[in-house]
Amino acid sequence: MLNSNNPTDRFIYHFNPEETTITMQTKNLEVYYGKTLAMQHADIQFKQNTITALIGPSGSGKSTFLRSLNRMNDDVATVKGQILYQGVDINQPKIDVYEVRRRIGMVFQRPNPFAKSIYGNITFALERRGIHDKRVLDEVVEKTLKQAAVWDQVKDNLHKSALSLSGGQAQRVCIARALAVQPDVLLLDEPASALDPVSTQQLEQTLRELKQDYTIIIVTHNMQQAARLSDYTVFFNLGEAIEYNKTRKVFTRPKIELTDDYVSGNFG
């Protein structure tokens, strides 16, 4: 038998904390929608400067898990357990949720630029925080748009509406907007699902470059995208993390048969 087919089995990779910098970690996380337990058994460590893909069928809990990481589930669900960010449990009422979201940014499935100029999208959060020095703002706009690999395409139209951008450009402007507040972690919920193949390729290249400075966690339904982009992969099923391992292992020799069936497309 190559891999385990015991339904209660799971394989969750654990780093040696003495050798690895763990940016985020979940412990005994449970998410309830009302009284319904939607997600449990997902003790995952996220290594600094890596890309981790969360995969699994619809309703498997991966987006619920992702949204819990920066407390986006606060108003819609009850989240129990620990979410450690740099060793601090951020799933505590006393923790400033806006500061959490500044450090742990989120990019959504559909590009959602604000109805403002490209420039205004990037500077929005900074201005709200009282930064109005044009020189500083200009620098942030240029730096983040360059990091998101969209600077060359928009630099001559910074004051045009961000709503006029193509899907791929708009998504990268949204990434730049998330980067403007200098997060450590970038959460992405199917960021390429509304993009064409060329824009998807550019977005993936952008994420590979951003990995040097950020820890990236991405939900994707695209197996090939998870395989070619991520360093680590978590497979979710029925609200639980079933397997967490190096991506190249998950896609060549998974430990759990359920993972094997899912990544190979054997759903029967």
Partner: protein, 218 residues
Amino acid sequence: MGKVFDEEIMTLKSDFMKLGALVSQAVANAGHAFIDHDTKAADTVITNDHEINHLQIHIEKRSFEMIALYQPVTGDLREVVGILKAVTDLERAGDHARNIARSTISIKGEERIPEVETIIAAMAKEVSQQYNESIDSYGEADEKKAKQTAQQYDQKIDQLYDDIAAPSYQAMAKHPDIVNSAIIYLNVAKDLGRISDYSTNICEWTVYLATGKIIELN
């Protein structure tokens, strides 16, 4: 992966097993032709080698297409990659069978050493059996059988090679007239030895297919 992929992999595997059977025939027939001094049978082996080469190319093309179209992973990937790698071993085993057939034609009219030919017959039989068992292990994805086969024949084949080589060298030293035949015997023994090596490779691909591990047997 889905129905279409499953159907295509069945066809690919059936083509692979067909190639395995063609090469099996070539190996057995080449051995018999050499021992029986049957140049007509040897000619057939040489002619049939084209079919082996064509089928190998066809299987390789289909494997490349399947990787490009379906991007298989885990067990599905091993099915395609295993065939893609092992098909080269089959084709090369076929080439060595063809070489033996050519030797059958070259040795015509030369003086023989019956004792050496008896050992060549024994080696040809063993190599043919080893090849068939290796292909069976692949067809059944039977890791245990693959390891057993590789281990079972390794030393036996080496010994038979030595048993052919020693009297051939001695004969060459004593009787210059027999040099041509002795060289051909050594070549045939070497060809049989190579077929045995390719059979071991097939067993290694069986282990890969079954477990995902790339190992060296023997």
